[in-house]
């Protein structure tokens, strides 16, 4: 549980700056630096619905559902 709570906190931190841009989202110039240094631990995301749901059912823990774009104006390497 402690791990999940810390992950949830991290999720909020990351999500404030990590949303890819688009029509209704931030402009590219609004996107700041990554919240983490390379190599630092962040959220252990599940990246398919199937694995996430299977893990939630296994563990009995709730799901933080996040959908976002992995590009900004077509430029990849942004999430």
């Amino acid at each position: 549980m402690k791990r999940m709570i810390s992950m949830l906190g991290m999720a909020c931190l990351l999500f404030t700056g990590g949303i890819a841009c688009g029509q209704g989202g931030p402009r590219p110039s609004d996107l700041g630096a990554s919240k983490l240094d390379p190599g630092e631990p962040g959220i252990a995301w599940y990246t398919t619905w199937e694995t996430a749901q299977a893990e939630a059912k296994r563990s009995g823990r709730p799901i933080m559902f996040v959908a976002a774009a992995t590009q900004c104006h077509g430029v990849s390497g942004v999430f």
């Binding site: 999500f15 694995t51 296994r58 430029v75 999430f79």
Partner: protein, 249 residues
């Protein structure tokens, strides 16, 4: 869980499910472990749904209602739908990517045997993991030796390709895999410049980087089923509903 809104038509439909039929770049909702019941209303992000100041507190409150039933040490291993997507996400998160490559009958066992690796406190949250039985992605990875293996990959700056940092046999022991990953992560951290996303996008645009998508880029904010033209009319009214039983994917 975090999915790419544009990765597949199915993902686009997931997003529409949470946004009253609209399609927007991002969506957020807390769901019960059954994946069906909404624990919060839905919106574009946690701050929209939970408030700017209380997001973390509210998520802690929700989490506290669902104590661990099973050990986190046996959490399932992450996967992606494709190496192409895994490279992109690993690049975005600035993490080393681990690809378990080989025929399903040879790699399936690793979905459970790797749990001791992926849930190790020195490993968790530092890497992305992907299983792939095809060879379609081989050309995207430099210095790759073809054949079943565990491939430790440094994603390129824009995640369009990657370079092998280390390659291990599928039969490698957990301790050896962990040791290899820790060394790779250290090297990656030392030699990777922290991303500033604004300059990243600007540089990518100048270089002509373009990540194709199955779903056309853009939003359908009026929920008519078609992607709006830029600046299309957003529909007012509710943004997701109160918690309750919903037909999530």
């Amino acid at each position: 869980m975090r999915i790419d809104s544009y990765e597949t038509k199915e993902h686009q439909e997931y997003v529409r499910t949470f946004l009253d039929g609209r399609f927007e770049n991002s969506a957020f909702c807390l769901l019960a472990p059954n994946g069906q019941d909404w624990l919060t209303r839905a919106g574009r992000g946690p701050e929209m749904v939970l408030g700017h100041r209380s997001s973390v507190i509210q998520m802690k409150t929700v989490a506290a209602k669902y104590p661990d039933r099973k050990s986190g040490r046996q959490a399932l291993v992450q996967d992606f739908h494709s190496v192409r997507q895994a490279l992109n996400v690993a690049s975005a998160d600035q993490r080393v990517l681990v690809i378990v490559s080989g025929p399903r009958e040879q790699t399936e066992e690793l979905r459970s045997s790797l749990q001791s690796v992926t849930n190790d406190e020195r490993v968790v949250g530092r890497f992305h993991f992907d299983f792939d039985e095809t060879e379609d992605w081989y050309k995207q990875i430099k210095n790759l030796k073809a054949g079943p293996s565990i491939v430790v990959v440094r994603p390129s700056e824009f995640g369009m390709n990657g370079t092998v940092m280390k390659q291990l046999p599928l039969a490698a022991k957990g301790a050896e895999i962990i040791k290899t990953l820790l060394v790779a992560n250290l090297e990656f951290a030392k030699t990777t410049k922290k991303k500033v996303y604004s300059s990243h996008v600007s540089k990518g645009t100048k270089l002509g980087i373009y990540f194709d998508s199955v779903v056309p880029y853009g939003e359908d904010r009026d929920g008519d089923g078609k992607i709006d033209h830029r600046g299309g009319s957003p529909r007012g009214g509710r943004r997701g509903d109160a918690p309750g039983r919903r037909s999530s994917p």
